[in-house]
């Protein structure tokens, strides 16, 4: 039987955990999008060693478990002389993971712009940067948006792994209370609902953006 009064009493703690989840996720989303843009630019650049470097990085992150990456950043980097706090270890691990998927999304978006369009721009006399900014970017962004949103949602959900390094985020709060008060169903149900609510808000905003971008220019 679910003890609703217990859940209600746990709300302040859960909200503090949610606050940390949102902060760490927001920073990771921001840094990973920046990393994604830079990584994608390097990946498609004509300078082959840079492209290979990014390709290797993508394969490394995609090919290793996320939890191992979190432990690597928290426990491994200090051995290499870089000791980050729990909070920044979490932000860095989450950003590194998410940036890889953004790089691939953006690259897929770019590759969806056909060479014919480049020729069309040239025949219209558009300069190179005009072509990039006003033609390639709008098309590529639209193609990349669904998978980018997917990665953003996964970033929020994957922040739960950071409880393993002691970051007091939403899942940590739940697991910590369970360790003392043993109300597993109440706590896991609560955090499932909270994560779902956050993800639904982010997804709704994302879908609105998608619909907005789907409208023709003339309609705006």
């Amino acid at each position: 039987m679910i003890d609703w009064a217990y859940i209600w009493a746990a709300v302040p703690d859960l909200m503090r955990g949610l606050g940390m989840t949102l902060i760490v996720s927001f920073l990771a989303i921001l840094f990973s999008l920046i990393g994604g843009v830079i990584g994608c630019a390097l990946r498609v650049s004509p300078i082959k060693p840079l492209s290979w470097l990014v390709a290797g990085y993508v394969e490394f992150i995609r090919g290793t478990p996320y939890l191992v990456q979190v432990f690597f950043v928290f426990y491994g980097l200090p051995s290499l002389g870089l000791r980050l706090s729990i909070f920044w270890s979490g932000v860095v691990a989450l950003s590194l993971w998410a940036s890889v998927f953004h790089i691939e999304s953006f690259r897929a978006g770019l590759s969806s712009v056909s060479k014919d369009i480049r020729n069309a721009s040239a025949s219209l006399g558009l300069r190179r940067w005009h072509h990039g900014l006003f033609v390639v970017l709008p098309i590529a962004a639209r193609s990349a948006l669904p998978s980018t949103l997917n990665t953003i949602v996964s970033t929020i959900k994957n922040s739960a792994y950071l409880q393993a390094i002691g970051l007091v985020e939403l899942t940590f709060v739940a697991v910590d209370r369970i360790a003392y008060e043993f109300r597993s169903i109440e706590m896991f149900l609560s955090i499932c609902v909270i994560y779902l609510a956050v993800v639904l808000v982010v997804s709704t905003l994302g879908h609105r953006l998608e619909r907005r971008l789907d409208r023709p220019y003339a309609g705006r």
Partner: protein, 276 residues
């Protein structure tokens, strides 16, 4: 002749008294456990000397040996205990969700836990201690004011520390290994855990030492799901039998090398706790 006969009888009686109690002398197991054919027991795999992971990955330690012995009392051989590793945070959910039948995993007995599970009689008591780097300025617990201490999630000492040491910050990680790793990397002033564990770790790591002043006198019991009186009676009888067989005196020396630590451990396992 009569004297010889009397002596022989006395020897026989003494021999019988010292002999292990046969399975039928224990209270009956619940029908569900009998049917299952094994007792599923959760033990620690990261807390030497109580329970640790052996070279081949199987659990070893004092509580692990206890669990095997209880399995033997129940089903005639140590295979009667099906052991699985549990962490501090997972042990009670594992019990209450029916994955295991007993928790024999450094489980401290205190009121919040007694609301959700039942405890057997106490089988061990002891204080906890803090492990610090050898060059740490910390000499006593009061030196930890304002510092960060590492502990495993669900560790029972957190409340004591927060109530007794001003401005202490707790960094909670999943396992003892994680905690020691973080301590060696200088992420916190110390690591807190059960005394036996802390002294064993200090013996294993030259870079670490124990703060002698103990904290949070705790008592450990075997955890059972609520309202399982038959299993409770069996477990308590098994614990009595372990003491009667002088089981602890033998097994502690197998897992604890330091004589002083072995003495403390033996006292914790064989004597009644001081003031409750």
């Amino acid at each position: 002749m009569k004297t010889t006969f009397t002596s022989a009888l006395a020897l026989l009686v003494a021999g019988l008294a010292a002999a292990p109690v046969a399975a039928q002398d224990f209270p009956p197991l619940p029908a569900s456990i009998e049917e299952q054919g094994v007792l599923r027991i959760g033990v620690k795999c990261d807390s030497p000397p109580f329970g640790a992971s052996g070279i081949d990955g199987t659990p070893i330690g004092i509580e692990v040996e206890m669990a095997k012995k209880i399995g033997e009392y129940a089903f005639g051989s140590e295979e009667g205990a099906e052991l699985s590793c549990v962490t501090s945070e997972s042990r009670i959910p594992s019990l209450n969700s029916g994955k295991i039948d007993l928790i024999l995993a450094t489980l401290g007995r205190f009121p919040a836990r007694e609301e959700v599970i039942d405890f057997s009689n106490i089988y061990f008591w002891g204080t906890s201690n803090v492990l610090v780097p050898v060059d740490s300025p910390v000499q006593e617990l009061s030196d930890l004011a304002g510092e960060t201490l590492l502990i495993v999630k669900g560790g029972s000492q957190i409340r004591w520390l927060e109530e007794n040491i001003p401005d202490i910050e707790m960094m909670q990680l999943n396992t003892t290994a994680d905690g020691i790793q973080a301590l060696l990397q200088g992420r916190a002033a110390g690591y807190v855990g059960d005394g036996g564990l802390i002294y064993t770790l200090a013996g294993n790591y030259d870079q670490l030492r124990v703060v002698e002043e103990g904290l949070d006198l705790g008592v450990n019991g075997i955890g059972l799901r609520k309202d399982e009186p038959e299993l409770m009676a069996f477990v308590n009888a098994a614990l009595d039998q372990l003491r009667a067989e002088n089981f602890y005196e033998t097994v502690i020396t197998e897992f604890v090398e330091e004589p002083a630590v072995a003495d403390v451990m033996t006292r914790g396992f064989t004597e009644e706790p001081p003031q409750m």
